[in-house]
Symmetry: none
Subunit: 222 residues, 4 copies
DNA sequence: TATGAATGAGCATTCATTCAT
DNA sequence: CATGAATGAATGCTCATTCAT
């Protein structure tokens, strides 16, 4: 009896686990499908039906996992910011809180994020704009996390290296400036280049990072 | 007969002129209406009917002046870039091709363009994204004009002040970096602030410009 | 010239008139199509597409004439009440404000309205229920007109014949009671009978009217 | 063995009983949940999922107890008629088959049924309309029970008090008339009044009953 | 030129119902 | 018995665009 029970339990638990796994799998497949199609055709020209087709499920299933179309984009956006924070964060932490960390992070943005996570870049800086106010709010809050990361890093490095910024606001301007350069330079050189005619991205990344470092330095007070 | 003809001609010519004026007037009114509504509600949530209503004409008329809805946005985008080029250009030219010109231009962006032409800012950096490939191409070509302006300015100032950039590409990276900072800092601080809680924009502009100047300098070689 | 002008004007005016006529025609056709289908299949099982098909126009056209599906029902409902008021009113007015007028009206309900306007009956008492709160309000307001008609008639006849009701409320209860009998008796005997097995409607009408007259009398005070 | 069996049986029987109880319980809870939600939001705006949620079971369970959504409404309708028959019946039976019994029944309708079973009233006269033909048939058959009750009562009282109606049909018209008054007066004064502004329902009930009594009398032949 | 009625493809979303576990 | 994930047909509604007048 005890044995039977145990086996029974084990069996149940196994099938339950499998279901759980399948559910998570579906969720991920849906997100990936959405990402692929949105990056390719744009959010507005991607219909929920297309996403369902691509994920090989029914429309109803999409709505079982996501409350509406926009939620798909929000999740993708959050995923993108998470990845970006991770890429920048680990690059920064390879140095001991020196300015070199910022260089590393910058290069990681261009050489890692833009190359290995290009769809996420598109979602982050191209598709998540011009949408509903709720999306706008969401976008703001999520990006805020990233901004806080960088601002904190600036402060830490400053403490270590005996410099600081005039005001908290100045530090944030520097942060936002950095992100602006990331975004625009990458956008300009990645999104707009024909695939045949890709410029030397590594060089461009280096230049952009140099620009950023110059900007960072120019506002410090010691 | 001659007299009659002349009179007739005169009349025609007068009425033709009036018509010409009215046509141009209509065109402008339509653009303004479109701008107002798109900035307020976003491109996708603005219908051609709404634009027609706001301009007090019929839908058909909109299609007489513009081939389709997207063309309205393209024209607005071009207008926006034109205005921005003008604002930056005149600020730059107030100095004699010194780096001070770039400072002036930067400050003009934040203190003039963002304040006095805010709708254009929205069109340029928020609504004209995530649209069709044709729009994308259009956007690229139009922005290219602006980028060329700044790149030329960099070269001119460099010639005057005996510095230059390693490569043409570096100069363009600097340019794009500058525009990225403009865009993102402004976007962050203008679009996202509650109207009540506007931060000190002038200060922010100064910091952003300082950042830019640092970046510009850090890549020069003499 | 003058002649030409006149002709021109006449022509314009004629075509404009024709368009006007066509528009009104379309509107009516749409209403009729909606009525037919709703009476046959019920409001919820009638789709806007079906109505459009039946009227031989596109869906868009339906939405050009009616702001949404419910408005179609509201208009039908209003039409129904209008017709009913007219039927009852003219029957009543054939007598000189005597109780006989009520008899006439009652018989007209069963022998005219229920027979010659059966679709309207269905709309009035079967389909316009269980819908949205707005529809409910609409229904209330429209029916109120009918109730007021009857209540006024009661008062007029009372004045003429030297009787009245205890309170205003009593008069209204009588009114509502009358309408309740109309509705339910007709519903019971018209809607539920198989077409083969129609009972003697005239007899039923007479009985119902006798019932009503008894009710009317029993609450009078002289 | 016997013991074991007995025990086994006892155990089974006990658990079976418990299960039986639970099943009935579930059934009732589902009906109540459905009633609450349908009365509140209407049949069409109440989804099976909502009912399941409210009853704290899964959707599948709903379909174990009821063949489909409509069956829920049918059962509720039947319950409503049952309750109404009971209310009217017991009131009627308090008198010795005199006309007073009808008065009692009428007052019971307004003062008991409409007050203490208002949800049932809504189900009976508002939600169960405009639905599918099957529902219509069902509705007809169920209401027929009620009509038969009243017609029989009329006959019994007539026998007792030495009056009768011209034909069987006349008696049924009287019955239907009575129900029509019940329905419409109650509907008018209960459903449409703002909760703050409830009119004197007792008075209204009395008036309606007086109306009915007048109607009943006016068709009798002795 | 200007009008505005007409079009109809397209889309997001809902929900009753099923069925494997 | 109970669960809840999956289905997919069905629907109301929008809107860019056209074209006869």
């Amino acid at each position: 009896m005890q044995n039977a029970d145990k086996i029974e339990k084990k069996e149940l638990s196994r099938s339950a686990l499998r279901r759980q796994r399948e559910k998570e799998q579906r969720y991920k497949v849906l997100l990936t499908s959405a990402e692929t199609l949105i990056v390719k055709n744009g959010y507005h020209k991607t219909s929920v039906g297309q996403i369902a087709d691509h994920a090989e499920v029914s429309v109803g299933t999409v709505y079982f996992y996501f409350k509406n179309k926009e939620e798909l984009l929000i999740k993708l956006f959050e995923e993108g910011v998470k990845t970006l924070r991770h890429v920048l964060g680990s690059a920064f932490l390879k140095e001991d809180n020196s300015l070199k960390g910022f260089e590393n992070a910058g290069l990681a943005f261009f050489d890692d994020f833009c190359i290995n996570h290009r769809p996420k870049f598109t979602i982050l800086f191209k598709e998540a704009l011009g949408l509903s106010p709720e999306m706008e709010t969401q976008r703001k809050e999520t990006l805020e996390l990233l901004i806080n990361d960088v601002t904190s890093a600036l402060k830490i490095v400053g403490d270590e290296m005996n410099f600081s910024y005039r005001t908290e606001q100045t530090a944030r301007v520097v942060t936002v400036g950095i992100l602006g350069i990331y975004e625009r330079v990458a956008y300009q050189y990645i999104m707009w280049q024909d695939d045949t005619n890709t410029p030397n991205l590594e060089e461009i990344g280096k230049d952009a990072v140099a620009f950023i470092m110059g900007g960072i330095n120019s506002l410090t007070i010691s």
